[in-house]
């Protein structure tokens, strides 16, 4: 990836409605515009791939109202985030090891009251993040889909947003809407895009280019440093890779196993391994080199 552009600011930039206040540390929010595009599948398998690369990883179930990380991982712990928030147990008791070797903190059931963004939800969640993030090399936030205030709040805490989309038109439209909201309301300038269930090689690159072109036109660009310099997009998409449409994924999901454990050699598994390598290099270890 080329060097990231210096922070572009629109002339007379608007104060963001939801301030970006990333928790100190590496937090990657995995999100999507539309539901059912494989967010949780990506979170879990990416966590496994990053763990295999020697990183200490936590996946945090941040889809507080409609969590299903437990279903994907086939884990049913006695203690969950719900018990931490309601004071029934310590944080340590609710963090468990997932099959891929990484840690997970599951939302658990009975979190209907957390599907609305109330001051308690914000406060509980913020404290939790500040407590847990420093203990890991990277924390993946498995968020809900869409642009509800709960999702936007979770995203505002993340240092990076990994947006999952499929090539379907509805998924792309909703991905575009999410990017636009993150740019205009949170002032986010970089968003990573992962294209899941891609049918052909190069799908993801073309989709990224198309989204970027429309974003440049409607969200805007700022002029370069001088007349000769290229103008910079206000929000820039970084394509992290594609996961090809793969029968092995469907099999693993139905068996509720991690793809990386179920079919390590499947094309989708290989792709996730490559994406993990790219994310480690460009996101997790990016600052260490400086």
């Amino acid at each position: 990836m080329t060097a990231t552009p210096t922070t572009p600011q629109a002339p007379g930039a608007v104060a963001p409605a939801v301030l970006l206040h990333p928790v100190k540390g590496k937090v990657i929010a995995v999100t999507s515009g539309k539901g059912g595009v494989g967010k949780t599948f990506v979170s879990a398998n990416l966590a496994a791939a990053l763990t295999r690369r020697g990183l200490k990883v936590l996946v945090l179930d941040a889809d507080l109202g409609l969590a299903n990380l437990d279903v994907v991982l086939n884990l049913y712990p006695k203690l969950t985030l719900h018990d931490v928030f309601t004071g029934k147990c310590e944080l340590e008791d609710a963090i468990i090891k997932a099959p891929g070797g990484f840690s997970v903190l599951l939302a658990g059931s009975g979190l209907v009251e957390y599907s609305r963004l109330t001051p308690e939800v914000r406060d509980d969640f913020l404290r939790l993040m500040e407590d847990v993030v420093p203990r890991y090399d990277v924390v993946l936030l498995d968020t809900g889909a869409g642009i509800s205030d709960v999702v936007l709040f979770a995203l505002s805490l993340a240092s990076e947003v990994l947006l999952v989309a499929t090539p379907e038109p509805t998924s792309l439209t909703d991905a575009y809407a999410t990017i636009k909201v993150l740019s205009t309301q949170q002032g986010r300038q970089h968003i990573r895009l992962l294209v899941n269930q891609s049918a052909r090689l190069g799908d993801g690159k073309a989709i990224t280019a198309q989204l970027q072109a429309v974003l440049n036109r409607f969200v805007g660009t700022v002029p370069g440093a001088n007349a000769a310099a290229k103008s910079l997009p206000l929000v820039r998409l970084h394509h992290v890779g594609d996961i090809p449409s793969d029968q092995a994924v469907k099999d693993a999901v139905m068996r509720r196993q991690l793809l990386l454990l179920h079919t390590p050699g499947a094309p989708a598994s290989v792709a996730i391994g490559q994406i993990a390598a790219r994310i480690e290099e460009t996101v997790i270890r990016a600052d260490e080199a400086v």
Binding site: G12, V14, A15, P119, L172, Y176, T184, A209, N216, R236
Partner: protein, 240 residues
């Protein structure tokens, strides 16, 4: 407490002058009388005597409460600063009683133009303010324009001089949900927009810019290349 130790002559004079009639202690008892006096004094010190609107002091305390609510509540609040255009000319040409009349008519029209839960205040000579709680930015322009149009729509009839046209300039600023705002900053931002409205010709509304995150049909169309232009294709290559 001994009522005899308290002096009521000043309060009595003030309340009588303000037209507030209280039942005497001999009728309602000492405690209820004292409470009524306190309430009446609070009302007086928070009301603008000319227009009956909240005065600046009372308005600031309402704003402060609203900032707290917005911080907890997740819904924008809009603060409008409104100023009668060229009000000095009215006073100079027709005299102060005419100016007072204009202030009262403007008050009445503003009250009718805003939503029931909005608070109107007179915060300076010819300067008014409106606090609109729970006002998403997408609705703000409509609300602000309604106040401007309410003043412009019909001339104000001066008792001895006939009709005159009066207009107002309106500036507006938002309190952001979940963000602990600062009262003087909010007021200053609304004032800044009012200044802009004055600079840009008066009788207009200027609100803090707000970027809409809605996705238009045109954007959707472009996403799928239904109306791809050359410019877009060129851009395509650059941003890949």
């Amino acid at each position: 407490m001994e009522m005899g130790a308290l002096r009521f002559d000043k309060v009595d004079a003030l309340l009588r002058q303000a037209g507030v009639a209280l039942a005497p202690p001999s009728e309602v008892g000492d405690a209820r009388y004292l409470q009524a006096v306190l309430d009446a004094l609070c009302d007086l010190s928070s009301t603008d005597s000319l227009t009956g609107l909240m005065n600046r002091r009372a308005f600031l305390s309402v704003l402060e409460q609203e900032l707290d609510r917005v911080t907890r509540g997740g819904e924008h609040a809009l603060l409008l600063a409104l100023d009668i255009d060229h009000f000095k000319r009215v006073n100079d040409r027709y005299g102060h009683p005419a100016g007072d009349h204009v202030l009262r008519v403007v008050t009445k029209r503003l009250r009718e133009a805003v939503r029931p839960m909005d608070n109107v205040a007179r915060i300076g000579g010819e300067e008014f303010a409106v606090l609109c709680p729970q006002c998403p930015p997408s609705f703000a322009t409509a609300i602000a324009q309604r106040t401007r149009v309410a003043i412009e729509s019909a001339p104000i009839e001066l008792p001895e001089h006939g009709p005159i046209t009066v207009t107002i300039s309106v500036g507006g600023a938002f309190a952001q949900p979940w963000v602990k705002g600062n009262l003087s900053d909010w007021l200053a931002r609304a004032d800044q927009q009012l200044y802009r409205a004055k600079q840009e010709g008066r009788n207009c509304v200027r609100l803090e810019p707000y970027a809409s995150a809605d996705v238009s049909a045109e954007e959707k169309g472009l996403l799928f290349g239904w109306s791809a232009t050359d410019e877009q294709v060129a851009d395509h290559g650059q941003s890949a």
